[in-house]
Point group: D2
Chain length 353, copies 4
C-alpha cells in the first residue's frame, strides 16, 4: 500500500497518488502541491494530449519533477486517485477505481448533488452512476470531516460553493438567517480552465468585469443543498451570480442573508469563531479579507458583517480557486481519507504580494 | 457669454468652461473629454498643487492642450464651472459661483442627498450650505432631464449610484420589485483617486479582490433616495457593498431585487427598453454586459435578468466610473444646462480592447 | 467621390472609406477612430466570419454605428480602402482596388519591404505582386510625408518598427550613431491579435514577460531598411527582440546604438526636437515616457538618453500599437493621401489613467 | 547554537534565524520561505513600525506564524541574521552581528561593490564599513559557492544583477563574447518596494511600461564587476536599462553581447548546460523562458540564443525578484553558510498559472 521516499529525500513510508488529467489547471495544481507533501507521492499522472511527455517538460513550473512521465492511463499501483477531468468524463474515469475499492476524489462535479434528478436538471444529462451518489461524501471538511475520513468516494466541492458555503454555514447552522440568500461571487480567470481560448484571451478579459450564467450556474444547487443540510428548517433559497474579474486566481464570494433577529457584530464574530475553532484552513477575519492573502495556499478567510439598517448579514468567503477551491481541498480530503494529519503538505503561507 | 474657436479649428461660438481641481482623476478626465467638445472650451483650470504648471506638462496624456496654464483660482470669465474637489471642499468652492449665478456642476457628493440630516449621518459633518439642497438637481438625465435643463446647481451622481440606479430604475418605476435590494458593486481602482498611495499600490491591489465599507458607504443613501423618488410606494431598502477589483476603470453593479409578481425575461426587457427609449447613453443589453465595452465613453449598459426559481430580478449596470460615473456625466449635464445637444462631445465609441 | 454628412451632424462633404476585415483588432480600431473623423465616413466594412451582422451588435463598443452592416466584400463606391487582413491575404485583397486606381492603405506587411527577395526570406513565401513594391510608399509621415501625399498604395508600418524607427531616426539621420543597433521591444498582448487563443489566455499571460522570435521577427528587416534610407552610410545592423508584457495596448521600444562621437544630452535633445519640429504626432519627451500616456491616441513619445560611460545612445519610442502602430497611422496616411489636414480625426488626448 | 523543532512538528535540531526588517517585501518573503524550511526556524523578527504586533496579524498571508511577535531589535540568540533594510541602514544594522561573529546576509546593496570609491560614486555617500568589503562574499552560489560556504558576511545579489549575471556568465567565462554588453531588464512592480505610494499606484502603473534610471542604476556596476571577475580579459562594459512592467513579481533580463567568433545554437547550449550542470537553481531552457514559470520559487531560467546575422548573443535570464532575486537567494546562501544542503527549504515548484 505504500512506497519509499520522495526523490530519495524522505526516509519514510509514503502513499502513492495518481492524478487523472494533469493537463488542466486543477490537475497541475494538485501536482504542484503534492511535491511538498511529506507522506504522499505522485506516482501516476495521466493526460491524454500530453501522454509520452515528461511532466517537467510539459509544464516548466513543475520542472522539479524531472523525468516523471505523463501516461495515457494510470499505471502501476496507487493508494488513491484524484480525477481532474471535466464533469461526466470524470465519473466515467473514476468508476473503475471505485469498483476496485481504491479511494477516489472527484474534483469534477459528478458526485456533488445527491439527487440524480437535480443532476439531470442542471447538467443536462443523466448521471452516469446514480447508485454511487448515496455513499459519495461531499468533501468539505469543515462540515463533514468524520464522513470524509470513512469515505471511499469523495466529491470535491466546486470553487464557488467552497467559498460561499464556508461564508454562510455558521450563520445558517445557528439559525441566524433565513429566506432567500444572494451569493454574488467574483472569480479569477483560471476558473475558466486552461487554454480556454478566445473568450478568455488576455486582451478581452483584462480591464473587464462581467457576469455570466445568472441564476443558471450548476453551483447554485450545490450551495443550496449543503446549506440545507446544516439545520432542520425550510431550505434556504439561493440566487447565485458568478462574475469574472481580471486576475488569475482567487474567489471572493459575497453572500447576503436576511437576519431573523437582531445581532451585534461581536455576537456574530463569536458564532463564526466557535464554528471554525477546529478548522485548520478556515479563519475568521475581523476585517474584509483579500483574495490575495490566500494566493497559493489552502486557506479560506471568512468575514461576517451586519448591515444593521436592513437586518442583513453580509458574509464573505475568499480563497484560491485552484487550492482550497480545487486541488488543495482534494489533498486535504486525501489526508483525511488516508488517515494522515489533515494539514500534511498544506501548512503553507500564501504567496504575497 | 462665449468665445471663439478651439485652437482656431472651430469657427463657431463656444462656451467657456472652468474646472476646479483638474489634478484628480475626475478633473483630468473632464479636461480629456472637453478637448473634443465642439461647442465648449476649457478656459480655466485650477489645481493648487500644480498651479503655475502647464496642463500638457503636468499630464502628458493631455499634451494636446499645449501651454494652457493651471492656476490657483478660476481666472477670467466662464460660462459654467465644474468642481472636482473632494466632498466638503467642493461645496465651499462652488458657493461663490452659485451666488454669482454661474451654472455649477458639483462632481463631489455635497449636493446629492436632499436631507441635511442624512448628509450629517453619512458624512460625519454638517452640510456647508443646506439652503441650496432644495434647488440642487440630481444630475442623472435618464431620470431628471428636464429639471437639469433648468438647473443652476447640479449634483453629479456618484459612480456607484449611477450604475446601480440605472440598473434598477425601470423595474422600480414599473412597480415590479419591492423589499430590500442588494447592490453588490465592483469598481476599478481609479475610483480610489489619484496618488492614493500605499493601500492602492500596484503590488498590493493586483490579483486581489476585496470588499470595503460594508453597509457603510455614503453611496447607499444616494441610491435609496433616488430609487424612492421613482414611485409612490414604501421606500425600498438598499444594502450596498462596494468591492475593489484589479482594473483601472469600470464599475459593475449587480443589483438584486425581489419581484412582486411573475414576469418573463421578454417582458422585463420590454419594460427596460421602453424606459430608456430616449436615453442616448443608457443601452439595454440582451446579454450580461462587459465593463470594458464602456471604457472611455459615456455609455451605461444595463441588463435585467430573472432568476425564476427564486422570484428575483438581477439587474446589472456597467459604466466607466470616470466617464458616465463622473466627468462624462458632468459634460452631459453641462450640455443640458447650456441648451446644447445632450450628446455634444460625448458621441464616442468605447476603447476596446 | 464623396457623400454627405455623418449621422446628419456634419453638413459638409466627406470621403467614403472602406475597411477590409473589421474583425481583427486593427480593423476594429480603424472603425473606432473613423467614427469621429470630421471629413471621412466609414461606408463599407467587410469581415467574412461576421458578414450579415450589424457592426454595433458584433462589437458592443462600436454600438454608435447602429445598424451599419458588415458585408463579405466592399460594397458601393469608396474613395479609399484600408486592408486589415493578415499578410499575404491582404495583398490579394488590395490588388483589385489598386488596379482600379482607388487609394489603398495596407495595414499588413505585404508592401513594406522593398526587396522581394527579402520578403521571401522573412515571410517564407514569394510576394504576390512584386511589381507594386517600387511604387508603394512606406507610410511613416515623419519620414515620408510628401511621398505619402502622392501615393496610391501605402504600406502602413508595423507596430514595432513605428516605435523603433521613430526612436532612432533623428540620431541616424544626423550621423550620430553607427554599428549594430539593439532594439528591445515590449508589446501589449493585443499585438498578438484577436481571439489568439490558448497561448494568449489571460491566466497564462498575466503576470508574465517573455521574449519570442529572437532575431527572427519580420519587423527586423523593416526597421533596418527604413533606417538605412535615412543617410548615405553603411547600413546599420539591427538585432531585434520582441517581448510580450501583461498589458493590452502599448509598445515600448528601447533602442541601443553606439555613438560615433561624444554628445551631451542637451545636444541630442536639440537634434531630436529639430527633427520632429513639424511632426504633429511624435513628441520628444525630456523624461523616459510611459506607454500609458499614449493609450488610445495617435501619439508617439520619443526620448533619447546618453549612457556616457559607454558611449551609447539609448533611444526610446512608445506608442499605442493599435493606433500610431496600426489604425491611427492608417488614418493619418489617409488624411495625407486625400489631401486632408494631417491631424483630422486624430487630434485626441490619450485615455489616462 | 540551535533549537528544537518548528511548531513542535519537526523533531530535529534546527538553526535559529533572525530577520531585520520583516516589513518590506524581501523581509516578508524570507519569512514566507523560512516557514517550510526543515532545518531552520525564524526566531526573531524586527520591524520598527510594526514592533509589538504579531507577525500573523500584520501580514495575513503569514497567519501560519500565529503569535510570533515583531520586535524593535533582534531578541534572543540567533545563529544567523538576514537584513532586509534599505542600503546604508542595512550596513549599520549588520555591523554589530558581524562583530559578534554571527553569520550575516545583507539583502541590501551595502557589501556588493568591492571598491569603496565605486560605492560612493553610485550611491552618493561614503561606505559605512569599507574595512569589511574585502571579506564580504558576493552571494551568487552559481559563481561563488565555496566562498559562500566559508563566509561570515554575504552580500546578497541585487535582483537585476542575479538575472543578468546568470544569463551572461557562461558566455563570458568561455570567452565567447566581448565588448559592450546591453542589459535590458523588465521588472515587476514589487521591485519598487512596499507601500511605494503614488508613483506606483495601481491606476498609474497598470497598462504601462516605462524605463527609469537609464545608465544610472546602481545595479550597473554590480553586473560589470561580477562579469569582469569571470575571466582575465578586458572588463566588459555594461549599459543597463531597467524597466517597470505591470506585474507584481518577476524579472526578465534580456542581455545582448557581441560574439567574438561564430558559434551555433547547439554549441552555446552545451556551454551553458555545462556551466550550470551542478547548479540546482539555474536551469538552461531550450526556449525563451517565461517569468511566470518561476513565480514563487528560487529558480532562474536561462536561455541563450544567437542572432547569426549580426554576430550577437542574446542571453535571457528570468527569475522571481523576491525569491532568487532576494529572499530565496538569501536562504540558499544561509544553507551554504550553515553547512546545510543547498536546496533545503527551497525545493519548490513555481506557482502557475
Amino acid at each position: 500500500m505504500a512506497c519509499i521516499g520522495r526523490n530519495g529525500h524522505n526516509p519514510w513510508v509514503v502513499y502513492r497518488v495518481g492524478i487523472i488529467n494533469v493537463t488542466g489547471f486543477a490537475g497541475m495544481e494538485a501536482a504542484r502541491l503534492l511535491w511538498n507533501h511529506p507522506l504522499a507521492k505522485l506516482t501516476a499522472i495521466t493526460g491524454r494530449s500530453l501522454a509520452g511527455q515528461r511532466l517537467g517538460d510539459a509544464f516548466p513550473h513543475l520542472a522539479v519533477y524531472g523525468d516523471t512521465p505523463i501516461t495515457a492511463e494510470i499505471e502501476g499501483e496507487v493508494d488513491l486517485v484524484m480525477s481532474a477531468l471535466p464533469t461526466a468524463a470524470s465519473a466515467e474515469a473514476c468508476l473503475p477505481f471505485v469498483r476496485q475499492g481504491i479511494p477516489v476524489i472527484d474534483i469534477a462535479a459528478d458526485f456533488r448533488l445527491k439527487d440524480p434528478a437535480a443532476f439531470k436538471e442542471w447538467f443536462g444529462q443523466p448521471h452516469a452512476a446514480p447508485e454511487l451518489l448515496a455513499s459519495a461524501v461531499y468533501g468539505l471538511p469543515e462540515l463533514n470531516r468524520e464522513a470524509i475520513r470513512g469515505a471511499r468516494l469523495v466529491a470535491n466541492p466546486g470553487c464557488y460553493p467552497a467559498a460561499s458555503i464556508l461564508a454562510l454555514a455558521p450563520a445558517v447552522a445557528a439559525g441566524l438567517v433565513a429566506g432567500t440568500f444572494i451569493v454574488d461571487a467574483k472569480s479569477g480567470i483560471s476558473g475558466a480552465g486552461r487554454g480556454s481560448g478566445g473568450s478568455f484571451g488576455y486582451s478581452e478579459v483584462n480591464e473587464d468585469v462581467s457576469a455570466y450564467k445568472i441564476g443558471k450556474h450548476n453551483h447554485q444547487p450545490e450551495i443550496a443543498q449543503e446549506l440545507a443540510a446544516l439545520r432542520e428548517a425550510p431550505a434556504p433559497k439561493v440566487t447565485f451570480v458568478p462574475h469574472l474579474v481580471p486576475m488569475t486566481r482567487g474567489i471572493h464570494a459575497t453572500c447576503y442573508a436576511p437576519l431573523v433577529r437582531g445581532v451585534t457584530d461581536a455576537e456574530v464574530m463569536a458564532i463564526y469563531r466557535d464554528f471554525y475553532a477546529d478548522a485548520p484552513f478556515t479563519r475568521v477575519s475581523a476585517k474584509p479579507p483579500h483574495t490575495k492573502h490566500t494566493l497559493g495556499n489552502n486557506m479560506c478567510l471568512v468575514h461576517p458583517a451586519i448591515d444593521e439598517r436592513n437586518g442583513m448579514l453580509v458574509a464573505i468567503g475568499v480563497l484560491d480557486n485552484l487550492v482550497k477551491g480545487a486541488a488543495g481541498q482534494a489533498i486535504e480530503n486525501m489526508n483525511l481519507m488516508l488517515g494522515l494529519p489533515q494539514t500534511s503538505g498544506l501548512d503553507l503561507p500564501a504567496v504575497y504580494p
